[in-house]
């Protein structure tokens, strides 16, 4: 049985069916991400002073990933245009470029950005013990300047025993009174060789940079994880339309394949659009 209105327009809607289908789906996606973003806003505006970290993510890598995703949005439009001009060869190459961009994005996210976070350690100090670690936190100066207090010491966990953590400090804790540390850096600074000993009795809670670390990382991993799943889904669909099976659809009716590419392209642009908001919200602000 032939599926109706894959190419021709349906008289009452004036559109082919998949176009309405994808827009209804995207409408539900807006609600899905809308819920997560509104949760993000709520968690963020209600975060106690010092509880919403800044500058923990790698901005150059995030910028590169943003650029990669934007370029893949361009190539998918070019792939669609090539099909409209009946240039299958060009379509094939543009599609390959799109798929590669998606794969690079995911690889950077899963093989580089996330694992780097999993290796990073942070210890929130109990309010009554903050003074004891003043040389790592620099809160006297921060209070004077009207800045939010620092309540966490971060770095690489060298070793721990029943009583203490030994942490190779991040520059921000190694040199807390340096005005250069007041704002996040564009190029992430490496962990220093300065070691701090933190008593476990003084620690409110200590974890690696996992979702359990804070509301910030919980929302970061949830939203980027769901976004990553969308990228993965898009890549799988694109691979299907790039494989030789698509050539058969093209030979039977090129408009049919063009419409498929247009619909999956709409999804892809939506994923790009979500990232345009995710990037500044988590990486920059």
């Amino acid at each position: 049985m032939e599926i109706p209105y894959t190419v021709s327009t349906r008289p009452d809607t004036g559109l082919w069916n998949a176009k309405i289908g994808i827009w209804l789906f995207l409408a539900s996606e807006v609600m899905l991400f809308g819920a997560l973003f509104s949760a993000y806003i709520f968690l963020r505006v209600d975060a106690a002073p010092g509880m919403w970290p800044h500058g923990l993510l790698n901005v150059p890598v995030g910028t590169m990933n943003t650029a990669i995703l934007i370029m893949s949005s361009v190539t998918v439009v070019l792939a669609w245009a090539a099909l409209k001009m009946r240039r299958y060869r060009a379509y094939w190459w543009y599609m390959l470029a799109t798929i590669s961009c998606g794969v690079i994005f995911l690889t950077v996210k899963l093989a580089y950005e996330w694992p780097q976070k999993f290796e990073h350690f942070g210890a929130y100090i109990k309010p009554e013990a903050l003074g004891k670690y003043e040389k790592y936190l620099g809160n006297e100066r921060r209070t004077e300047k009207g800045m939010e207090p620092r309540i966490e010491i971060t770095g690489h966990l060298h070793s721990q025993n029943a009583k203490e953590y030994e942490v190779a400090l991040d520059p921000v804790n190694a040199d807390p009174n340096n005005p250069a540390m007041d704002r996040p850096h564009f190029l992430p600074l490496p962990v220093t060789d300065k070691i701090a000993t933190i008593e476990k009795a003084d620690v409110e809670r200590a974890t690696m940079f996992l979702p359990t670390h804070s509301a910030y990382f919980a929302s970061y991993f949830t939203i980027t994880g769901l976004h990553g799943l969308h990228v993965l889904g898009g890549v799988l669909v694109f691979i299907y339309m790039w494989l030789p099976v698509s050539k058969k659809v093209y030979q039977r009716n090129p408009e049919h394949l063009a419409n498929r590419v247009e619909v999956s392209g709409l999804f892809w642009h939506f994923v790009d659009l979500i990232w345009i908001f995710v990037f500044p919200l988590f990486y920059l602000l």
């Binding site: 209804l24 409408a27 509104s38 943003t66 564009f186 500044p280 920059l284």
Partner: protein
């Protein structure tokens, strides 16, 4: 063309985040403004929303209405829960 524009805007967003506009709120506002412009460009050009059938606009008006409602609920919850203020 639009792609180049979007890449430029990305660079602008990153650059602006290292400029201090006085308060963090101002910085967030400006970054969100740039992001909205970018998202608008993607929707209008890449997703051909600049010239689309009326039915699709209708679907999107509904979506916009409900997603604003969702953010409005957050605002209500904020006034409902004065513990941290």
């Amino acid at each position: 063309m639009v792609g180049a524009l979007l890449l430029t805007f990305t660079a602008v967003t990153v650059a602006l985040s290292y400029v201090d506009f006085g308060t963090r709120k101002a910085n967030i506002g400006i970054a969100m403004l740039v992001a909205t412009l970018k998202a608008g460009a993607v929707a209008a050009v890449f997703m051909h929303l600049a010239a689309e059938k009326r039915l699709i606009y209708r679907i999107l008006i509904f979506t916009g209405f409900f997603v604003l409602g969702l953010f409005w609920l957050i605002l209500l919850a904020w006034y409902d829960y004065p513990v941290f203020r």
